[in-house]
Point group: C2
Chain length 404, copies 2
């Protein structure tokens, strides 16, 4: 633990959770210096072997989402194991008493039971849907309609996203909810049981972005392939086959494209021909086919390096499409040259490039990225600290299969 | 403002921002009861006409991302307008002095200038990339490699996502950063200037999910279409053409699929033929073609309603693919039957279904969804409250074009 200087130094969260959203919420606090203690069954939880895995079946996924945490492994099938888990979750301290789970709130995870031990406990229970039903990112996304407006407009096949966006947004919202409730507790002394469902996060976002309102008004979003909706932006291929994404969302971005491509006059004429003032973003969307033809012809005459030079000279908002292999092997932003990253020695994996928290607090409060723990690495330490279990007692618990 | 009871009641944030991430960060605090004051130029900011728009050009996007805020409109091209903006951002109060922007930190947005007025100011500046360069969701995504592993594996065309996932994650992280810094300030009295770049958020997530590590180990993620990576899950079409997504990620989910489809024996035989124990999630991915054939044949023999009945009886994790129109018109979860939503009267739009915050705090602390303000709706009120401008002074500022 290098948590001493973090902006959340002193805060403690106990986590019994799996997969993306809840562990990411916990890790977000851990990477700001909070003491986050993960409780798992002796053999590891539901996500302990989640792919991607190494050749010897160590989960890169699990390691990625549990960095900077402490790990306690308990036999949760026994009353004694569950007692120890509750003791850890409800240990005293003004900065402790926060508990995060995405399992059904029953057994030792039941809020009433935990609250009986610590009345000011803050518990956040993450659910699939708000009724407690099963829902994961893979099912929330088709229900929200997103796969049906993703991809080639000539096709009507749904395209699932590969980035678990709903999980990732929810993970951050877990951290938001815990910090907001902790602020409230510091002011009033009150704990509470916060509930959050993945499906509600998705529904809220669909509302916030206007997707729900436009459908209500009779214009549900259609497929636009790789084109940006409501302004100008899309992908183009240079003469040498390199593909780039170009964005003309703001007026400044739009003018920079016209300058870099030296298409001011033809674009002006296009607007006049169509009766559209292209300085208005919506008109750029209406005129997108004509704009794309002009920009595409310019691009097809030039090699990538010349396109890049022209775009950078004029401050165009653009990027090259690259593969993950190119990102990892060739892009200096994805290397220790970017202070977001550090090389850490990950048990079971070896040296990996690990990101910390992207929030850049004052330098004194930056916590460098740390590895994920080994399963049960801190069981003895945490039980001694928070449950008063001495070495002899721990040895007996270990021999009886209660701890690891 | 119905903020009195919210979990963040009393907290104040001033925001000068546009597009998705920063306004979403501010709205997240507003929907928990914080007083969030948005400062815009007299004619509205860069995103004031962002699509989708109504027929009379009111932005559903802007309204969606600025709910529950107060709006102040100032002539920021004048020294006097900028002075008023700084006075609002730096107004006194233990629970005030928080400022959020995604514009370059110069002019009145310069942290040093603001800090000279209020030494304990917390400022969060959102950037495109960490060097201050231009980057938006549309460019971050291709750079991270995601479009090249999205969509049909038979194609090598990139597929851009249509949900601005990086913006949405970043928006929540903005709220996380502000709350973490506010906690630190309450303990130490220290403010700070936090920086956060959209591109770094993307890079961090690519690391957290294991994408970077697997590429480092020589196995960059490939395209798998609509199939879930590392376990079993994909889309199928029922006899009557309805498409469903089915997920067998955990052991329990997997067993429920076998039971609902009555395919226990054929699946057992498939595993034996392939020499794979399908109770291990990774083996379900290895055997996905054979599993899909069996499940697909079962599905093709049944109409949707019979599939749904069988799945629900066995607790399968599944969903129907639906369009946004179906979501909005037919799904009770996307209606006031779900307490996430309320119908609100949105100025310039009419009655819309507006989502609040998905975090369900104790009932006493729930803030109902409220509309976005009219541009400048609270200018006079806020200037009176925070800058000591009385009605006569306001009238003169208005006549001189400094305020709206």
């Amino acid at each position: 633990m290098t948590a001493a200087q973090g902006v959340l130094s002193g805060l403690r969260l106990v986590e019994a959770a799996a997969f993306v959203a809840a562990p990411l919420g916990g890790m977000t606090l851990a990477q700001m210096g909070a003491d986050v203690i993960r409780i798992d069954p002796l053999e590891g939880g539901l996500d302990y072997r989640r792919w991607p895995v190494t050749e010897d079946n160590t989960s890169l996924f699990w390691c990625g989402l549990n960095k900077s945490k402490r790990s306690v492994a308990l036999n949760l099938a026994t009353e004694e194991g569950r007692e120890l888990a509750m003791a850890i979750a409800c240990a005293p301290g003004d900065d402790a008493g926060m508990f995060l789970t995405n399992f059904p709130a029953r057994g030792w995870l039941d809020h009433e039971k935990l609250k009986a031990r610590r009345p000011d406990l803050i518990q956040l229970t993450l659910q699939g849907d708000r009724h407690g039903g099963s829902a994961v990112d893979y099912t929330v996304n088709p229900r929200l309609g997103v796969p049906l407006f993703t991809g080639d407009p000539a096709s009507d096949e749904p395209v699932n996203h590969v980035l678990p966006a709903w999980d990732l947004i929810t993970g951050q919202m877990v951290a938001v909810g815990l910090l907001a409730a902790e602020r409230h507790r510091r002011r009033t002394g009150e704990g509470q049981h916060i509930k959050l469902s993945l499906q509600d996060v998705g529904l809220a976002v669909m509302g916030h972005l206007g997707f729900i309102a436009e459908a209500q008004l009779g214009n549900p979003r259609e497929r636009h392939g790789n084109e940006l909706f409501g302004a100008f932006g899309r992908d183009f291929v240079c003469r040498d086959g390199v593909r780039v994404m170009v964005v003309g969302l703001t007026g400044k971005q739009w003018r920079s494209i016209a300058q870099a491509t030296q298409l001011e006059v033809p674009l002006q004429q296009l607007g006049e021909r169509l009766g559209l003032d292209l300085s208005e973003e919506g008109n750029r969307f209406r005129a997108r086919a004509g704009i794309a033809q002009l920009v595409g012809e310019w691009m097809a005459r030039l090699d990538f390096k010349d396109v890049a030079t022209a775009f950078d000279r004029h401050g165009v908002c653009w990027t090259r499409y690259q593969s993950i292999a190119q990102l990892v092997n060739d892009d200096p932003e994805c290397s220790p040259a970017n202070p977001l990253f550090a090389k850490v020695d990950q048990p079971g994996v070896g040296e990996v490039l690990a990101p910390g928290i992207p929030l850049r607090f004052d330098a004194r409060m930056r916590v460098p990225p740390a590895a994920a723990p080994k399963l049960g690495e801190h069981t003895e330490q945490v039980l001694a600290q928070l449950a008063g279990i001495d070495a002899a007692q721990f040895g007996r618990l270990h021999d009886r299969g209660i701890v690891r």
